[in-house]
Symmetry: C2
Subunit: 346 residues, 2 copies
């Protein structure tokens, strides 16, 4: 089975060997406060900084999921007002979750083909860099313009399905988060929170220390290469091994971008399918959404399944009228050749 | 290296094969809302019910850690008052955490060798069945007496280092939680929350729906064999495989209890070491704490290390004056023979 599901998604084939190595190394049985565990965490941080080009003054924490990051941002980095700009289901869920936690949430929906621009300041501004539900993205240059337009806001960015696939302009925002089951090509069960000095400063000012996942408590552990709860040591180990294997993010991102463009051209020129996002300037590099009638979508997913190919279901408003294709680094070009051949014949 | 660390602790040797099988089965790449993932969750629930003898009306949820369970109990099951009876570091941490979350916390410390008894009602009563920091336990009959003495309280029980090692009288409490890196013999990174009908009723009355880990939201997902966040699918798979392999809990518990008693006798009769807990009636079956002077403890840990044996460090108040030994099911009798030989010679 080849899976193009945008998460949990296809893992790197090398993960098979890494799982075996993890067991053989004994790391699965070590205490998470031990020197061996701390060294693993230190090395993984270092590789993340190197391979993803994360600035030295941005810290990294291992969390249970991207969803937990919504909670951390609302609890530890915001006291009153959170502005959420979104055009899809995940951005909207984040806004609703923050509202439930008692903050004053300003909803700023925008169009599927619209280039986001923001001029309203807020204590915290929450953006979805890559909206997994519809295959749109907010580019680095758009993020940088927003940063300049609202310089006093803390910028938090959901990069769940793009981190490790897109080369970010990290300093354009203060907090970034992702899940390892997307562009990292790893089994589900862990999230990453990347946060800069302005986020730490904000957390210190607010001084929220009531939760086990309070950012200050997380940060104190991070500085010691420890974690705020018993972590998924196996996934940290797998992450380290995958990072050792992958090229620098600029190389990965360029290849993915090229593959995304080539796929878009393929759909436009060689099939009768339509891309959900017409404006190439806001189209995601890592998740493609293809639109059709309900019967067409149903039929193609069934036909794909019969050929051992899993297409991603649509999501939210586009649940029945789209299918989605993950363009993640762990999926090989050969798999995409198989997909194209299938779509050409189907 | 043989590890007697009480968590993360030695994993079952079969986990090596299960990791490989997990990869080969393709489960690592399936979407967590798919039929395949739901079937895995369903089968794992069924095995947990069967092998651990969990009543049919008690539900099971996969969470990120036992620490997260403290939060869920405070947020979703308590509105005002939480009574915490504890004699060690983990019970105390739980009390402090609940207090930080804004509840009125009644602290009821008790002695290391004391049989716990409770007569004060509270909205929620929080007990540590197995206190990993000092190797004490609250037995089934004590729990049952507490249940009868305070029939209106919701009883929540930390069973982090005993679930899957001790045969619980489940209906003596309403909520039980544990981590898989202890008696389940699995890699760290997942917790289990087992909750009964009274807990569900309480959650419905309170109707707390503000958090992604609100119990009502968790429960709605559990009933559909789904999860409230992208779960650690690999660990669920490993849990399923380990459960298939282990005997029923009565058999496991009887063997562990016998091994614990035999170890206690060994320490008392064949070594000059002292057991931290003098009263056998409250001594844990799954974690043994051995006491000595600071230099003695330091020396034995070093000597063990040189023989490829990891003894657990002391914890909290007993950090420097004890070492701990996990008596978990995944640790073989052969390993204990090696340990005894070492301790006899050392």
């Amino acid at each position: 089975m080849i899976s193009f599901y945008p998460g949990p998604s296809q893992v790197y084939p090398q993960v098979a060997q890494y799982l075996q190595d993890a067991f053989d190394s004994g790391i699965l049985s070590v205490n998470h406060r031990s020197g061996a565990a701390m060294e693993l965490v230190r090395e993984t941080y270092q590789l993340l900084h190197e391979k993803l080009d994360i600035p030295a003054d941005y810290a990294i924490a291992f969390v249970s999921s991207a969803t937990e990051c919504w909670e951390i941002i609302a609890q530890s980095l915001t006291t009153r007002q959170s502005l959420h700009a979104y055009n899809g289901a995940f951005g909207q869920k984040w806004a609703e979750y923050t509202q439930k936690l008692g903050l004053n949430v300003v909803h700023q929906p925008f169009g599927l083909n619209e280039v986001l621009s923001l001029t309203t300041e807020a204590e915290t501004i929450c953006l979805t860099q890559n909206e997994t539900s519809n295959g749109t993205q907010v580019t680095n240059s758009t993020l940088r313009k927003i940063r300049e337009a609202v310089p006093n806001a803390l910028l938090a960015v959901d990069a769940t399905s793009s981190m490790a696939g897109v080369a970010f302009d990290w300093t354009a925002a203060d907090v970034w988060f992702a899940s390892v089951q997307k562009c990292f090509g790893l089994p589900a069960g862990m999230g990453l929170l990347v946060y800069g000095p302005r986020a730490v400063e904000r957390a210190r000012t607010i001084n929220e220390r009531n939760h086990y996942n309070s950012l200050l408590f997380i940060d104190e552990n991070v500085r010691k290469f420890q974690t705020h709860y018993t972590p998924n040591v196996l996934n940290i180990y797998l992450l380290k091994r995958v990072l050792e294997q992958v090229p620098p993010i600029q190389t990965v991102a360029a290849a993915l971008q090229q593959r995304a463009q080539s796929l878009a051209t393929f759909f436009e020129k060689e099939t009768s399918w339509q891309l959900l996002v017409a404006n190439a300037a806001v189209r995601s590099d890592t998740v493609l959404a293809i639109t059709g009638t309900i019967p067409q979508i149903e039929q193609i997913k069934q036909a794909a399944k019969a050929r051992q190919i899993t297409l991603g279901n649509g999501y939210g408003d586009w649940k029945e009228t789209t299918f989605r294709i993950a363009n993640f680094p762990a999926i090989s070009n050969t798999d995409f050749t198989t997909l194209r051949a299938f779509l050409t014949e189907a």
